[in-house]
Symmetry: C2
Subunit: 168 residues, 2 copies
């Protein structure tokens, strides 16, 4: 079954899409996969055969498509990378949500495990650390527009910080 563990970007996208369709429609259909990936149904069939041979989906012609346990494990992993990147782009960098989603979809194939782990940790840390968190992200947002920090304001901002630890 496990012909080759290395999945191309394209095959990763198929798995991700199938997972997504399983969630919303219980089952994935060729037509819907094609629609989501903006490709023709004929191209989908070819990919499904490959995924079937790799043991990642249950595929037989004309039947509904479902992920195998191994396929699901991989799909969830891809989805996790996607969500992490999207969260970082949208919630931290404040990139608009559609762009964040599209870029996450491309970057998810490029990120390595170490960077992903650190990114997850970073996102948590920004949230957890009293020195950062939501209000700090607001400051970032303003900085993005003005491209500079105001030392006057920094001074008063810093003074208000000790109160933050109480809130938690």
């Amino acid at each position: 079954m496990k012909t080759n563990l290395e999945l191309s970007e394209s095959l990763e996208n198929y798995l991700e899409t199938i997972l997504d369709l399983e969630k919303t429609s219980k089952v994935a259909r060729t037509k819907d996969i094609a629609a989501k990936l903006a490709i023709k149904p004929g191209s989908v069939t070819g990919a499904l055969k490959v995924l079937g041979e790799k043991g990642l989906i249950n595929y037989s012609p004309y039947a509904f498509i479902t992920l195998t346990p191994e396929g699901k494990r991989i799909a969830l992993d891809i989805n996790h990378r996607h969500r992490t990147l999207k969260y970082f782009l949208h919630e931290i960098l404040q990139v608009d949500v559609a762009t964040a989603d599209a870029t996450a979809c491309r970057m998810e194939h490029a990120i390595d495990p170490e960077s992903l782990k650190k990114l997850i940790c970073f996102v948590d840390f920004v949230r957890e650390c009293p020195r950062t968190g939501a209000d700090w992200l607001d400051h970032f947002s303003k900085y993005c527009r003005s491209e500079q920090v105001n030392r006057e304001k920094c001074s008063s901002c810093l003074k208000k910080l000790p109160a933050k630890i109480e809130e938690k």
Copy 2:
């Protein structure tokens, strides 16, 4: 000349490599491009023709290869994306430098202009804002290992912060 503005990931890598070789050796040679990209020289020739047709490099058989102004502009842009991502991965997320470089090399083709702009801004902001900066990154590093924040320590950390504004 400008046959098509959209460059594949592969062609972007060629341009980036040529820029790199121009910097170190004044000129790029087929053999060196092949070595850097870990592909065979025969494959390089094909790509060079395409880049030549697109007006991005000065290419004629057996001659040295140089970037045209347009090619250089694009190569510098790719390089900029690469450096930004590498900086973020290595200096902020503290991913080891070789991994950061390799991942940046893959992500540079996936990031969109808005996300790049925000990322550049973010990296600056982390450096500029008195609430973050180098010592905050040390805290992140510790957090990465322990996976939790120590509220006791947070309290004393916050109290030391106002002094930070003076330093700047």
